[in-house]
């Protein structure tokens, strides 16, 4: 049986000079599991999240299979419609586009791509309000342009709200804890945990163990110099917190 996300011998080069960042990464995440990737700065964690979601400028070779389909040549919007969601480390501000409009465009675009009916405006408002309430996202925030003038914590709550609205099959959380105080971290983690289900997979990318106290991973992988260099259970995260990345960086 193949895993939900199956990455094999992934190489990714970036920039005009095709600088290699990922150098033969293997990773397999079954549905229902939460895996964490930890690694020092510069190990290639964010590159992995962009390569998986199809950002331009990332030259990819090797295999990325999602639900058994090779998605490595698919457009970002098609990967999204298949259920791949990235919570950005730095959510992007989009002046002039109200958050609610953005959510509706995104949801209905995905539905159209999947051949499903669009959601009507009144149904949509109700649907979003229910989810916004769970994350303490006010109606006023929903009316404001996407992420414009939001604090770090507000931006991350909006990221998770988008996940609750779009109900992706697989979430990639890129440094979701950065910029969060402890209260915001709790709200965001509860949102993420509410999305855990046997049909859904998650990849949590983080530098620190702190987030993993709130979102307990099934497996932890250590990334260094563009590869997975160690894998283990949740205890591996605590070991890293105590001992640091030194031995893995040297080994890589």
């Amino acid at each position: 049986m193949t895993a939900m996300l199956e990455i094999s011998d992934l190489h990714v080069a970036v920039g005009d000079d095709d600088k290699p960042i990922l150098k033969g990464l293997d990773l397999s995440i079954p549905a229902g599991e939460v895996h964490a990737i930890m690694g020092p700065n510069g190990s290639g964690k964010s590159t992995l999240s962009y390569a998986l979601t199809g950002r331009e400028g990332y030259a990819v070779s090797g295999g990325i299979k999602f639900d058994g389909t090779d998605i490595s040549d698919m457009a970002p919007e098609d990967r999204a419609a298949k259920g791949l969601f990235l919570s950005f480390q730095y959510p992007v501000e989009i002046p002039g586009v109200p958050t609610l409009t953005f959510l509706k465009e995104a949801l209905n675009a995905q539905r159209r791509t999947r051949g499903e009916d669009e959601m009507s405006a009144p149904d949509f408002i109700k649907y979003v309000r229910e989810r916004a309430a769970k994350l303490n996202v006010s109606t006023d925030m929903l009316k404001r342009p996407v992420n414009v003038g939001f604090s770090g914590g507000e931006k991350k709550r909006i990221e998770i709200l988008q996940a609750l609205v779009l109900e992706p099959r697989f979430l990639i959380l890129d440094e979701t804890d950065s910029g969060l105080d402890i209260d915001a971290l709790k709200v965001v983690s509860e949102g993420v945990n509410a999305l855990r289900s046997p049909e859904r997979g998650m990849l949590v990318i983080t530098h620190y163990q702190r987030l993993l106290d709130h979102i307990a991973p099934d497996r932890v992988h250590v990334m260094a110099d563009g590869r997975i260099v160690a894998s283990g259970g949740p205890e591996l995260a605590r070991e890293l917190e105590a001992d640091g990345y030194d031995k893995y960086v040297r080994a890589a």
């Binding site: 199809g54 331009e56 457009a75 919007e77 992007v92 989009i94 002039g96 586009v97 995104a106 675009a109």
Partner: protein, 343 residues
Amino acid sequence: MTAHFKPNAAETALIDSLEGAGGWRAQLRDATRSCGFPTRRDEHWKWSDLRRAANDVTHAGTLHISGIDGSEIVPDDGAHVDLTTQATAGASAADVTLTVKAGRRITLVERHVADAGSLGNFHVKIDIEDGARLDRVIVMPDAGAGVFIASTDIVLGKGADICQTILDFGGKLNRCETHLTHPGDGASARLDGVYLLESGRHADHTSVVRHTGPGGTLSQLTKGAVMSGARGVFQGKIIVERAAQKTDARMTHRGLLLGDRAEIDAKPELEIYADDVQCAHGNALGAIDETALFYMRQRGIPELKARALLIESFLTEPLDGITDEALRGELMTLLRTRLGAIT
């Protein structure tokens, strides 16, 4: 030197069609006779070479005007005037005079269409008397490959207001030229514009505002998006005379270049002779934010739709000044439809 100037076919056609005309049309005729159409060698037309753009014009055309009675109009208070012009192939010119009587509030919506092979010149002289207000909307829909010059002289009275908004999809060469005399004295002016140009189109928004008395406010915001092979021009000049102390004038132009061969030329100018004023101008050109584009696509919004949304959100701000909700909605729809057609 100018006595030896030899008009070309287009210039001759315009001069002949204005034989015996008076007022503004006589001035246009005489200026054309002595100097010809402006070219890129004229400082005020350096990015909009009219002589070159009109080189396929060989005969006289007609500038049809509809929606008004006569050429001197004095609308009632609360009137909504819909003025439409259409320039047929050939050279043509027409002018009207609009007076907004003291204390009245008028809405003027102009739509200008220039057929292929046309050179239309349309001039409006506007007098906004004390305490009056004019909301003016100018729409230049892209109907053909014509050349159209819409020029305006506006004189503001004491405590009068003008709010002007242009929506321009360009032509072979379009130019909206606004001259405003601002008395200060509790009067306020807002001059905004949007241009959206596909390949082969040219739009030029030029304004000169002269502050002659103290305490005037002016706000100008123009935003444009230009695709490869199109050209946008913004020239804005603010003159603050010595008597115009405490003038508060702001001018902003922002352009979005949507392709490698897109071109936007901008020249904001301040000429200030008073020493106690607040004047600022800003001009910025950029490209689509690729990070925002990826963010939207990652959420499932197809690339073309995402681009259109980003362009739309960039362009709409100048339309916010239109207080008539229905009119504003109509312009938004025009803009969206146009975006859908060209992106």
